[in-house]
């Protein structure tokens, strides 16, 4: 099942194609991390990329966010072919992300961290910023309001002024999500949002991901190890193994795919 609009099981209307990866191949020297993979992401859906360790999931996310540049293949975003872009240009296009190993600004407060997420929305120039007049001041106020909304939404008001470096792991993950959300992204990339969390934290994070998708209509692409979580959260799943795509479809379709079962449970080679 791909292409066209569709309705999810819980009745949400999914829009047209937001992003399309066409025949992506990524090599590091002689190692092929991704080989000839194509898939698409529709507006408003939660799309998961799963696979065993070393399958190339993170590499794929890095291709989407511009950290890696594939040797072959095309990236289409909002109906246009995307030229080779630097990560900061991709961010400006409206693609925000979180990292597997949390990349926050540890010396800065939670509020400041989330504010950096608004940078792509600030247009006032260096000069008006320097003298702090007119547009710069107005922008700061507007952006503060947007940020406070997200802080409320993710229930991190209590730690607004705390330096991020002092927070426990689970909260850091949430702050990182807040920073990505602050950019009001058209596409939100989550690299293992639940890695290293306990059950309770996982439940919280799952709820936030669903709420974000529901309230803001944000399109989300996520990588996750925890199969249970993925199947519950996502509308459609891409399964990767050794850099190849071995499955693509709804959680149910994927669950019953023999190749996927083999990749996850191992298969006897006799």
């Amino acid at each position: 099942m791909s292409g066209g609009n569709y309705k999810t099981e819980d009745g949400r209307q999914i829009g047209g194609t937001l992003m399309e990866m066409k025949n992506i191949t990524l090599r590091f020297g002689g190692v092929v991390a991704i080989s000839d993979i194509s898939f698409d992401i529709h507006e408003g859906e939660i799309r998961a990329i799963i696979g065993p360790n070393g399958a190339g999931k993170s590499s794929m996310l890095n291709v989407i966010s511009g950290f890696y540049h594939p040797q072959d293949g095309e990236v289409w975003f909002r109906g246009e072919r995307r030229p080779t872009m630097k990560p900061y240009q991709v961010a400006k296009q409206g693609i925000a992300r979180t990292f597997q190993n949390i990349a926050l600004f540890n010396g800065m407060s939670v509020l400041d961290n989330v504010m950096t997420g608004r940078l792509t929305h600030m247009e006032s120039g260096l000069f008006s910023q320097a003298i702090w007049r007119g547009k710069a001041e107005r922008e700061e106020v507007e952006n503060r309001e947007a940020v406070e909304k997200i802080i409320d939404f993710l229930e991190i008001q209590a730690i607004r002024k705390t330096p991020v470096g002092r927070l426990p792991y689970g909260l850091k993950k949430r702050v990182e999500l807040a920073r990505a959300l602050a950019a009001e992204p058209k596409l939100l990339l989550l690299d293992e949002p639940m890695a290293g969390m306990n059950v309770e934290e996982k439940e919280d994070m799952s709820r936030f991901i669903l709420d974000v998708n529901d309230e803001f209509g944000t399109t989300i692409a996520l990588i996750e190890h925890d199969m249970g979580v993925v199947m519950d959260l996502s509308d459609r799943v891409v399964v990767m193994d050794y850099g190849k795509k071995i499955g693509d479809g709804t959680p149910d379709e994927v669950r019953n795919n023999q190749e996927v079962i083999d990749a996850y449970l191992g298969v006897s080679h006799d």
Partner: protein, 328 residues
């Protein structure tokens, strides 16, 4: 001994003001180090270069005149005009921004992800190149820099303290201006980094490159910005030192005095650079005053370095630096 006490007070005040000048140079180091992890050996030369350029523009000197004359057999040295100080400062700032751009474009862009020691070596190279260019552009002779700052003893302080204590303090007006300028500069820098978008981006880059990229910050732009700000700080330092002791090659050596300041204050802390500068300034003046006579004087040449050495042994991260914790 009240006289001795008053004299010591005066020494401390003068030390504080000398410390402000050290802090100004150290500040340039900290800015670049924080944002890009580069220890910029050329900071002192940047101050010299900025001061040379400022004098050159003010005096209406023709840049590269010796070179031009040697090649074309002409005899031009001056445009024959004088540029007002403020305008000349603005023009010098444009040159410093151009320099920042060039440094980023031709040197550090090509050294991304290299070892810190390599980057450091590159700045040493940069220091020599800039020294040479400064010489060719503006000539090697000692120049007088006068942008109209008040100089000489401050009469009001002299008279007031004389009436109050029966002993007039000798405080140089230039030192007072330098202190005021430094306070404004530091205030402006802190406000910029705390409350503006670029300041926030700058702190973000200093903290984590990858995360900064992911929120849409162009590292290239930020680094040019940082080098420009460091250029501006160098210009201010160059003006102050130049007004004090003339614009000459030895100006680039004040950078060496900034090293102990940084070791005291920590390489990553703006307040550290200031406090470090003040401690060194006061420390070396007071040491010279109290201990100097016993050891035959000239302690100012080495006091700062010995103090830095002691700090390195007992508190290697400096007073305000981030504590070095190795996690295993």
């Amino acid at each position: 001994m009240p006289d001795q006490f008053l004299f010591a007070m005066e020494v401390i005040l003068n030390g504080l003001m000398a410390g402000v000048l050290y802090a100004l140079v150290a500040l340039g180091f900290v800015l670049i180090y924080k944002a890009s992890g580069i220890f910029n050996y050329a900071q002192g030369v940047m101050a010299l270069f900025a001061a040379l350029t400022l004098v050159g523009i003010m005096e209406g000197q023709v840049p590269f005149s010796h070179l031009i004359n040697a090649i074309f057999g002409t005899e031009i040295h001056h445009f024959g005009w004088h540029v007002p100080a403020l305008l000349a400062i603005a023009m010098t700032m444009v040159v410093m921004v151009g320099l920042a751009w060039a440094v980023q474009k031709f040197i550090f862009r090509h050294l991304v992800n290299q070892e810190p020691i390599l980057l450091f070596m590159a700045t040493i190279g940069l220091a020599f190149v800039m020294e040479g260019i400064g010489d060719i552009m503006w000539g090697a002779e000692i120049k007088k820099l006068d942008i109209g700052l008040p100089q000489g003893i401050n009469d009001w302080i002299d008279v007031t303290t004389f009436e109050a204590f029966g002993y007039g303090f000798f405080i140089d007006n230039l030192d007072i201006s330098a202190t005021i300028v430094a306070i404004i500069l530091v205030g402006a820098l802190i406000a910029f980094s705390q409350y503006t978008k670029q300041g926030r981006a700058l702190r973000a880059v200093a903290d984590d490159h990858q995360a900064a990229l992911s929120v849409g910050i162009s590292l290239n732009f930020i680094w040019i910005l940082v080098w420009s700000i460091a250029g501006f700080v160098a210009l201010v330092a160059g003006i102050m030192w130049g007004a004090k002791s003339g614009v000459q090659f030895s100006l680039s050596l004040i950078a060496l005095k900034a090293l102990p300041v940084l070791m005291l204050g920590g390489f990553t802390s703006i307040p550290g650079a200031i406090v470090g500068g003040l401690i060194i300034g006061v420390g070396e003046k007071l040491f010279e005053f109290l201990i100097g006579p016993m050891v035959g004087g000239a302690t100012e040449n080495w006091f700062a370095y010995v103090l830095a050495l002691i700090f390195l042994v007992f508190r290697p991260q400096g007073l305000f630096g981030e504590k070095i914790i190795e996690r295993v």
